[in-house]
Amino acid sequence: MQVDWFPLWLSLRVAAIATVLAVALGLWVAWLLANKDFRGKEFLDALVALPLVFPPTVLGYYLLVLLGRSSPFGRVYEWITGEPLVFSWQAAVVAALFHSLPLLVKSTRAAIESIDPSFERAARTLGASELRLFWKVTLPLVRRPVFAASALAFARALGDFGVTLMIAGNIPGRTQTISVAIYDAVMAGNASLARLLVIVISVVSLVILTLANRLSGESFGRRASEQY
């Protein structure tokens, strides 16, 4: 049987990029929610959590409206890159990003809020700027929960179906991720291909989660040399 492995590689690449973006964005939003008081804070919190409760089609629809070729964002994107965002593999990244972001924000916020406030106070009395406090104290202290959350986010990004289908479509060789390919194979009556892809994605997910669990459970890595 001639198997096209493109959907698997695409999915892994999309999920990896989406996870990196989600971690960066998630850390920032979680830090804001945990440390700052501002108007609309609870609204932002709810907004970030929406993808958890929305049907994927609804989230996909919103993104389609916001990022489509006639939307302001879509036009700017197209003007810069020369290509539309929707129905490209980059759109799949956006889909996976929004699909996995709530998970990261929720657990990162909880992790930041559970830090003993005396660590932050100590850092401040010792003359640390807020930025240094974040990089040198807050981030290392939430490293493990964030790592665990990003593994889950990666798995979730890997498994996104609905949102991807809505804004990236199902273009074989371009935007067809593995979950979409499985759907395609089932619809086309190609049972053996569907079975193979399902087994592959199951194994990959399991391996990633096991690996991540082991890594996130490791104690603070010892650095070989002193800091200075």
Partner: protein, 360 residues
């Protein structure tokens, strides 16, 4: 030198009573102690000085720098205040070695100065052997020395101008406590900055000496050396807080300034005391007297002058002495050997020495 005048109001909430912090004090080089019960506002005062909490009104001056001035709208950020703060849980960063913890505080210095300062502190606080370890690998005493060293090294360019300690001896066992006192005495000698510490233990106050400021419900009620305060508690609240006295309800029956004498009614007995100025006959007051100064003797016939017959209810063995608890809540302490020489006796005469009597 620190001079703080702090006011902060916490309105009563649905589940909490209101609280008002309103105190003013100054402290020069040496140890100053904020003493009070939990919830009196001691730690809140430290937090206002360090800049974690913003007072409503007042002014905080450290040396000649204004840290906070409500009227002028000055409120420096904690990192600009040059206050070393030793947290109750030490707050050593768990992901850094001891050396890195110290280095964190001097990162604004040039590299060679940094290394020099860290090494100096490591030497001074006897941390050389464990400098490469993380906090969870250290003993309690090492953690404590490290947190004090870190607070003293940092606080901006010139090192801290004051050391703040939040209940440093809380929850420590006896050897660790005496080690802490030792380290603080060392700090007092080697760094000429005020050391302001919060405690509710009388032992700490006497160990460290210095000046004691008694805080009660957000207000300063008495200041002085531990000895002065212990000998003359300003009022009943202070005496209760110190917790070392018999505080017995008595009524003043007679006052004679000419002969420097008074008569006090305690239960159904009269006691002869010195003259108490500013009191009136008929006043119901508290007789404040140390348990060590009362003398108990097994009852043999009638009580002598200034003796009250009392029944013994309970005896508590303490190191080298016993505490006898009599009816009416009278406590008497005597050396264990003297007590045991008397054997099992139920009824005693308790003598109130005239010169030790004080009323509040």
């Amino acid at each position: 030198m620190i001079h703080a005048r702090i006011r902060k109001q916490f309105p009563a909430g649905s589940e909490s009573a209101g609280f008002r912090l309103d105190l003013e004090f100054q402290a020069a080089e040496g140890v100053a102690i904020l003493f009070g019960a939990s919830g009196a506002g001691k730690t809140l005062t430290l937090d206002c000085i360090a800049g974690f909490v913003k007072p409503d009104e007042g002014r905080i001056l450290l040396d000649d720098r204004i840290l906070f001035d409500a009227a002028a709208g000055v409120n420096r950020r904690p990192r600009e205040r040059q206050c070393g703060y030793v947290f109750q849980n030490y707050a050593l960063f768990p992901h850094m070695t001891l050396r890195q913890n110290l280095a964190f505080a001097v990162e604004r210095l040039p590299r060679h100065r940094r290394r020099q300062k860290v090494n100096e502190m490591v030497e001074r606080f006897r941390l050389a052997e464990v400098a490469g370890r993380r906090p969870h690998e250290l003993s309690g005493g090492q953690k404590q020395r490290c947190s004090i060293a870190r607070a003293l090294i940092g606080g901006g360019s010139g090192g801290p101008k004051i050391l703040l300690l939040d209940e440093p001896a809380q929850g420590l066992d006896a050897p660790l406590r005496s080690e802490l006192f030792e380290v603080l005495r060392q700090v007092q000698e080697e760094f000429s900055i005020p050391i302001l510490l919060v405690t509710h233990s009388l032992e700490e106050c006497f160990e460290l000496g210095g000046r004691m400021h008694i805080v009660r419900q957000g207000h300063l009620v008495q200041s002085g050396t531990p000895r002065e305060i212990f000998e003359k508690p300003a009022n009943l609240d202070v005496a209760r807080l110190l917790g070392a006295y018999n505080l017995l309800p008595v009524e003043i029956r007679a006052l004679d300034p000419g002969r420097n004498a008074s008569r006090l009614r305690f239960r159904e007995f009269d006691l002869a005391g010195p003259y108490f100025p500013g009191r009136l006959i008929g006043d119901r007051v508290s007789l404040c007297i140390l348990p060590q100064t009362l003398r108990a003797t097994p009852r043999n016939g009638l009580p002598g002058p200034n003796q009250t017959p009392l029944g013994l209810e309970r005896v508590v063995e303490m190191p080298g002495r016993v505490r006898m608890e009599f009816e009416g809540g009278v406590l008497v302490e005597m050396p264990g050997r003297d007590f045991h020489a008397h054997g099992q006796v139920r009824f005693w005469n308790v003598e109130f020495p005239r010169e030790e009597m004080r009323i509040l």
